[in-house]
Amino acid sequence: MSENFVERARYLCSLGGAAATVTALPGGIPILHSASGCAGNFAWTQNGGSGLQVGGYCGGLTVPSSNIQETEVVFGGEDRLREEITSTLKVMQGGLYVVLTGCVPEVIGDDIFAVVNDFREEGVPIIGAVTGGFRGDSYWGYDLVLQALTKDYVAKGSAKVKGRVNLWGVVPYMDPFWRGNLEGARHLLELLGLEVNSFFTPADTLEGIRAAGSAELNIVLSDLYGQGAAALFREKHGTPFVTTSLPIGVSASEAFLRQVGAALELDPELVQRVIDREKRHYYQILEPLTDCYNDLDLQRYAVVVGDANYAVALTRFLADDLGWLPVLTVVTDRIHENGQPAIAARVEHLASGFSTNVVFESDASQVLGHLNQVWPRAAGQKYYNAFSPAFVLGSSLDRELALQIGAPHLSVSFPVANRAVLDRGYTGFRGGLRLAEDVFGQIVANR
C-alpha cells in the first residue's frame, strides 16, 4: 500500500458516504453545503460502483446543494446556507433534512450549526453533520450521519423495551447489496423474536428511528462501520452494543445467532431450535448440488478482495461453508495499524481449520504481487503445484487480476460495475445460498 496515494480508491469521501446514507433514510433529504460538483461526483460514482443503483427518493443530482463559489470562499457561506435551507423547505418534501458539509466551507470555517439550530428551534426536522471530504472515506461518512442522528434526532430518555434492537454496520450504496444484506440480517434477528430497527429498509420509519433509544442492544455488523456511532449511542442513550462480522452463510449465521442470543440472554433452547430449523432448510436446498459439485470438481483456490466487512465474511464463507481454499484475503480499507489485528483475527481460527493470509492493501494493481508472495510462481519445474483452479471474489477492479491468473471472477465488494443489484443479499442462511449460486454460476457460465 502506498504511503503517498490511494490507487483507484474503493470509496468516496465522507461527504459522499454521508449523502448516500441520508438518501437511504426514510424521507431523508440531504442538503449539501459544498461546492457545486460534489453531488455530481457522487452520482457518477454510484453509477459505476454501486451495482447500477444511483440515488433514491432524493439522491443523485436531485439533492439540494448550496453550490458555494469564490464569493463565499471570500465572505463566508453561512448566509447562503440559510437561504438554501429556507428554499429547500419550500421546494422539497421530506421527513428529515440533514445538512452535510464538504471541504470548501469547512476550510473557510463556516459554522453550520449556528444556522441549523435556528431552524431546529422553529421545529423544523433538521440536523447537521460535519463531513468534509478530507476527514475520511465514505464509510466514515455513514458513521458521522449515525452520530448526528444519535446526538440530535433520536429521542432522549426512552425506556428500554425488551427484545428491541438496532442493526448497524451495513453502509448504503458502499455495500451494493446493502438492502438485501440488511434484510437478511434483520430476518435472522426476527427468527429470534426480536423487534429490529434497521434504519434503511422499507420496513423502517422515522418514528422508529426517533425511538431508537428504546433498544436494549445495538448490533453492529462490522468491526469498523458504525463503531463510532455505536459508542456514542451507548454514551447518550445507555444502549450497549455488540460487534459481529457480516453473517454470510450457514456457519457465520449460526455464530451470529448464538452471539446475539448470549448478549441478550435469550433462552439457549430457542436459539438452538432456530439454528436447527434453518440449517435443515439450508442443507435440504444444497443437497442436489452435490453430484455436480463433485463431478465438475467445483472446489477452488481463491483470492478474496474486499472492504473490511466483506473480506473476512467472504473468506469465512468460502473456507467454512464451501470447503474452498482462500489463500489470500485482501482488506482494501485504509485501516490504521492499531485496527488491523482485530480484522485479521476474524479469519485466524476458522472452523474448517483452513487458514488464509491477510494483507491490508487498497491498490488493485498490487494484489498480484501479494499473491506471488503467498504462492510463488512456477520456476520451470516439471511438477508444479499451481494456483489452479482458482477464483477471484472481489470488486470489478479485480477482473484484471482474474484475467492475469486465468480465474473466473465475481464482483461483490465496491465497486461493482458489472452487475445489477436491487435487493439481492448474502447475509443469513439464505444469503449463503444466493452467494453459492452466484459463485458457481460464474464457474459454469460457459458450460
Partner: protein
C-alpha cells in the same frame, strides 16, 4: 500574450461571458443572437440550487481516456471517484480502438486534515515520484481539486521542479471546482496543459524522409490531413461515421484528443485543418493551434442531425475545393437516409419532445428531432454562450410556436415543474439526467452514451430507431410514475417554474 502563457486558463464566465441561470424562449434567444447581443445576457443566480457537477468531471472524462496516462488527483479523497463510472467508458473505448478492455489508472493524494493545515506539496511530490516508478506511464496528469485551490498548493511549481527527476511527462490541470460555475471550463483546463506541454517535439526528432519523392508524398499527405476533434461523449462508432464521410472526400483523419496517446498529440500541429465537432468543447484550443502553429480550423455546427451534418461537411469540403464531390455525397446520403426514416415517421407525428443537455448538444439534437417529425416544446441548456446563437436561429425558424428555454446547470426542480406543465411525449436528457422525466412517466432516452450512435447520418437513423423503440413501449417509466413520487412539494408544482431565478441573497435580507 496568449492565455497559454499563464499557469491557469481563464474561466468561461470571464472569457466568453457564459451564463448558467437564465429564462428565455427559443425566439427570444434567436432574436438576441441576430442582433449580436445574446452574449450580453447577464448571468442570474438561483436562491435554491441542487447539486450539479464541476469542471473536474468532464476534465476527468477526457484525461482518463488517454492511454498510458496516470491521473493523479491532488485533492481530498473523494474527488474523482466519478471515474468509477467513466472507467466503463475507458474499458469500452479501449476495446473498440485497441481490441482490449483496459482499466484506467487514477490515484488520489487524499489530502487529510494535517495536509489542509500544513500544505500538500510534499505529499504531491512523493506521490508523483512513486507513481512514475510504479506505473512507468507516458504522462501523469496532476489534477487539482478544491482543497489545494484554497490552501494554496502550487501544482505547476511542483511539476516543474520534479520534471527532471521523472520519465513521465507531467501535466498540471486546474480543476478547482469552486472557482468557476461553467463546467465547460473543463475543456479549457485540459487543453491548456496539452497546449503548454505536449505540442513540442520531444528530444528525439522523428525520422525525416530524405528521399525527395518521399518528402513530396509526406507534404501531400499532410496537406489533406485534418484533425477531427472528438469529445468524451462520443463513442468510437460516431468517430467512424465522421471518418467515413471525411475519407470519402479524400481526406486523412487524425482523431484527437480523447483516447489519443499523449506522445501523438504533436501530430495535431502539422495538420492542414482542425474540425470541431462541438464548439462548446474546442474553441479555446483551436484558437491556440491557429495562432501558434498556423493550423486553421472550422468551429461551427455539430454534426448531429441531417441539416447540421451536411452543413458541417460542406464547410470542410469548401476549404479543400471539394464542393462538387461533397454535394454529390450529401445528396446521396440524405436521400438514402430520408427514405429509411419513413418507417418511423407515423409514430413520431404530432409527438412533443423536451430536450436537456449541454448547450450545443441539446440544440443540435433538438434540430434532429424536428427533422424526424417530432415537435420540440422545451429545451434546457446547461449553460449559454455566443457559439450557440446560430443554433437558436435554426430552431426558431422551424418552430411551430415559441417555446421555453431554461438555461440551468442541471437543476431538475425547474425541469420537474416545466415537464409537469408541458407534458411532453418524449424526453431526451444528459447522463444521470433522465430520472426526473422517468418518474413523471414520460418516455425517455439518454442524449449521449458512448456505446450508441448519435452523430452523422448514421446517428440520425440509429437515434430515430431507438426513440421509436422507446415510444413503442414506455411501460417502465409509466409504472414508475404510477408508483413513485418525486421529492418535490405540491406547492412547488403550483409555483412558477422560475420562482427562484435571481432571488439569491433576497430571502436572507427580507
Amino acid at each position: 500574450m496568449s492565455y497559454f502563457d499563464n499557469k491557469v486558463p481563464p474561466k468561461r464566465e470571464d472569457r466568453l461571458n457564459a451564463v448558467i441561470a437564465h429564462q428565455d424562449s427559443i425566439c427570444g434567444l434567436a432574436r438576441k443572437g441576430k442582433g449580436g447581443k445574446s452574449c450580453l445576457i447577464d448571468d442570474g443566480e438561483r436562491g435554491f440550487t441542487q447539486g450539479t457537477i464541476c469542471l473536474l468531471l468532464p476534465a476527468l472524462a477526457m484525461l482518463n481516456s488517454l492511454p498510458d496516462n496516470v491521473v493523479l488527483l491532488h485533492s481530498a479523497l473523494g474527488c474523482g471517484s466519478c471515474t468509477h463510472s467513466q472507467n466503463a467508458n475507458v474499458r469500452m473505448g479501449s476495446n473498440a480502438r485497441r481490441g482490449k478492455a483496459q482499466d484506467g489508472i487514477w490515484l488520489s493524494t487524499a489530502l487529510d486534515e494535517t495536509d489542509v493545515i500544513s500544505g500538500g506539496e510534499d505529499k504531491l511530490e512523493r506521490a508523483i515520484i512513486e507513481a512514475d516508478r510504479r506505473y512507468r506511464p507516458a504522462s501523469i496528469t496532476i489534477v487539482a481539486g478544491c482543497v489545494p485551490g484554497i490552501i494554496g498548493d502550487d501544482i505547476d511549481g511542483v511539476a516543474q521542479r520534479l520534471q527532471p527527476q521523472v520519465s513521465a511527462k507531467l501535466l498540471p490541470v486546474h480543476c478547482e471546482g469552486f472557482k468557476t460555475k461553467i463546467w465547460a471550463t473543463a475543456y479549457d483546463a485540459v487543453y491548456h496543459t496539452i497546449g503548454r506541454n505536449l505540442l513540442e517535439e520531444k528530444g528525439v526528432t522523428e525520422h525525416t524522409p530524405q528521399d525527395e519523392l518521399e518528402v513530396l508524398r509526406e507534404q501531400e499527405r499532410l496537406a489533406r490531413t485534418v484533425n477531427l476533434m472528438n469529445v468524451s461523449s462520443m463513442g468510437r462508432v460516431d468517430e467512424q461515421e465522421l471518418e467515413r464521410l471525411l475519407v470519402s472526400l479524400g481526406l486523412e483523419v487524425n482523431v484527437f484528443p480523447v483516447f489519443a496517446h499523449p506522445d501523438s498529440f504533436v501530430k495535431a500541429t502539422r495538420a492542414a485543418l482542425s474540425i470541431s465537432t462541438c464548439p462548446t468543447h474546442d474553441d479555446y484550443f483551436l484558437g491556440y493551434l491557429e495562432e501558434r502553429f498556423n493550423v486553421p480550423s472550422i468551429i461551427k455546427h455539430m454534426p448531429i442531425g441531417i441539416e447540421n451534418t451536411s452543413l458541417w461537411l460542406r464547410d470542410v469540403a469548401a476549404r479543400f475545393g471539394f464542393e462538387g464531390q461533397a454535394e454529390r455525397l450529401i445528396a446521396a446520403e440524405e436521400a438514402e437516409l430520408k427514405e429509411a426514416l419513413e418507417e418511423f415517421r407515423p409514430l413520431f407525428q404530432g409527438k412533443k419532445v423536451f430536450v436537456s443537455a449541454g448547450e450545443f448538444r441539446a440544440l443540435a439534437t433538438a434540430r434532429l428531432l424536428q427533422e424526424i417529425g417530432l415537435e420540440v416544446v422545451g429545451i434546457r441548456s446547461f449553460h449559454h454562450d455566443h457559439f450557440a446563437e446560430v443554433e437558436y436561429e435554426k430552431l426558431a425558424r422551424e418552430a411551430k410556436t415559441d417555446y421555453v428555454v431554461d438555461i440551468a446547470n442541471v437543476q431538475p426542480f425547474e425541469e420537474a415543474n416545466l415537464l409537469n406543465r408541458l407534458k411532453p411525449d418524449l424526453f431526451l436528457g444528459h447522463a444521470n439526467g433522465n430520472m426526473t422525466a422517468s418518474k413523471l412517466g414520460i418516455p425517455t432516452h439518454v442524449i449521449y452514451n458512448t456505446g450508441l450512435a448519435y452523430i452523422g447520418y448514421r446517428g440520425v437513423y440509429e437515434l430515430a430507431r431507438r426513440l421509436h423503440r422507446q415510444l413503442l413501449n414506455p411501460a417502465y417509466n409509466r409504472n414508475l410514475a404510477e408508483n413513485l413520487r418525486l421529492p418535490y412539494s405540491d406547492a412547488w408544482y403550483q409555483a412558477e417554474p422560475f420562482s427562484y431565478l435571481n432571488t439569491r441573497g433576497r430571502s436572507v435580507n427580507e
